[in-house]
Symmetry: C2
Subunit: 203 residues, 2 copies
DNA sequence: CGATTTTTGGACTTGCAGGTCCATTTTTGC
DNA sequence: GCAAAAATGGACCTGCAAGTCCAAAAATCG
């Protein structure tokens, strides 16, 4: 079906997605014209529509998927190894560091707003990202419960949901206010709160 | 300066803002054309540019301010009276109820993405909203500390920041996933966590 | 090496939404 | 009631960015 891409074609397609993603991160979705992408990636209009027959919509979707994947990759290997309190703090630090560096440039924020309503696919991409993210956190909590570092009667899924929401809100507030304070507060207070639950099985 | 609006003019202006807000809530910012607003509010293009000389930009800004104010008004009188645990729960219930009813229609989400980059005013509106919101929560926490229901050594501002971030993230996740679970989890767990801090001065 | 398919470039079309203009009607204030 | 100012209606202009089309170049494969 999707077969019919030579090596060169695949490279070009990837270059377009990466270039468009960079452009969007830098200047925002609604400021980026197809021509900007062409200029920035050294491609022609014919190529754009050759690789993305659905036009801008399709390209944006591909970029969104690309950026969603990046989000989780950037948190590795910490996110998949929340097996001790120092590991949790390392993850916390990575998040702060990453978003501090990113600043106000959030790729997905705009992409959702832009494609969210019309494209059913965009919703799915974000939902998928959140689901994977939350799953990783849940597993971290479960592991800490297995070692007795977190109370076993705590609802891991619910706690992970709350933490994930906090992170999202923290990033959102970073986007609006430019300050990292909220994200920091959420991470520190929530992790502390998880820690406090250890009392039952104490170390 | 801004003087020169008859009663009729003021009414028309208000009708435009309210109508545009409704339209945007219903169909999203980037789906709403000036013509839609005209049709929906029974106004002409001349009027739109008469009341909003800066065109769409200015209108969007006015709508954003309008919606930002609504957000806090909708939480009253609970938000300004976080003076007992039942009051906190009443506020919690109001939030859940309100966002459950709102569903995926978030007025500010898109407005920020749309005007955020270019208009310096849009940023200010959201920042202002968040600041007022957080201040109200902080005051609630301080009050509970004064009655001994929350430990006095807790950093009220930091806790409020975390709670606010949690709420924002909960709403964001409601927008992406359609489920209220995250918002519920954040509110319940965070409030519980505040409660747990009462131990010091216990009742 | 020749047929076939993919890749590429870029000129051209198109639709539409934001914005301009001005003529007409209504309101205001004396 | 009458000048001045504000409110209204809607025809018109304009620019731009997405999308179309096709012909030339390069790659693939037997």
């Amino acid at each position: 079906m999707t077969r019919a891409l030579t090596r060169k074609g695949e490279a070009t397609r990837a270059r377009i997605v990466a270039g468009a993603a960079a452009e969007i991160r830098e200047r925002g979705v609604d400021e980026v014209r197809l021509e900007d992408v062409m200029a920035h990636t050294g491609t022609s209009k014919g190529q754009l529509f050759h690789y993305f027959p659905d036009g801008k919509e399709g390209l944006l979707l591909a970029v969104a998927q690309h950026e969603a994947d990046e989000v989780l990759i950037d948190q590795e290997p910490m996110l998949s190894n929340l097996t001790s309190w120092p590991a949790w703090l390392a993850w916390r630090d990575r998040l702060i560091e990453r978003y501090l560096a990113q600043g106000v440039k959030c790729p997905l924020n705009g992409l959702l707003g832009q494609t969210g309503r019309r494209a059913p696919g965009a919703q799915a991409i974000v939902t998928g990202l959140m689901w994977r993210w939350q799953k990783a956190i849940t597993e971290g909590i479960r592991h800490m419960q297995s070692t007795g570092d977190i109370a076993p009667d705590l609802d891991a899924d619910r706690a992970a949901a709350a933490l994930l929401a906090g992170i999202q809100g923290g990033v959102l507030l970073l986007l609006s206010t430019g300050k990292i304070d909220h994200l920091e507060a959420v991470l520190d207070l929530t992790i502390d709160s998880l820690r406090a639950g250890a009392r039952t099985g104490g170390s």
